[in-house]
Amino acid sequence: MKIVNKRIAMVLAVSLMLYAVACSTFTSNAYKTLSITTTTVDTARQVYNNEFYNQGKVSPELDAKVAVAYKDYQKAMNVAISAVRTYQLMHDQGLPVTTDSVTLALANLSSAVTDLITLFNKAGQP
């Protein structure tokens, strides 16, 4: 399993590097960031539920904290999605637009995701 994980990590690292230097628009890059983040969080959520919560291995206290962090993540992600979509709409109509709001929204999202994943990882720990 560790060897498979290392190979996956290497291939993923190469993919991310190629993506970073590829010719792509700001909207496309932002969308990919949000999509990858959503996939990652949703996968972690499913593992949290299937391997821990549904098995009765999560204390009510921890689940309550996870629920709050999950709501915060959803709010941050929805704000980030709105920011990128607004940028996309304005850009496509030729209106003057900056990337500042998207950058701020992504920074806020990163913080919310980190907090949530940290709590997911506490499941199953003594």
Partner: protein, 52 residues
């Protein structure tokens, strides 16, 4: 994409395996997002914590 976010994504995807990786590979091939893409993304984000 920030270095921290890349590190987080790598860590989680290594932990959760090839299916999650393949979803990421598919996403990386996307160009401009459509209204349908945004709707699908929003639907995933707004799932309940304990939903399937």
């Amino acid at each position: 994409m920030s270095t921290e976010l890349i590190t987080l994504i790598l860590t989680i995807l290594v932990k959760y395996g090839p299916e999650a990786y393949m979803q990421v590979v598919t996403l990386l091939q996307k160009t401009e997002p459509t209204a349908q893409d945004w709707a699908a993304l929003t639907a995933t984000v707004n799932k309940g914590l304990h939903d399937k």
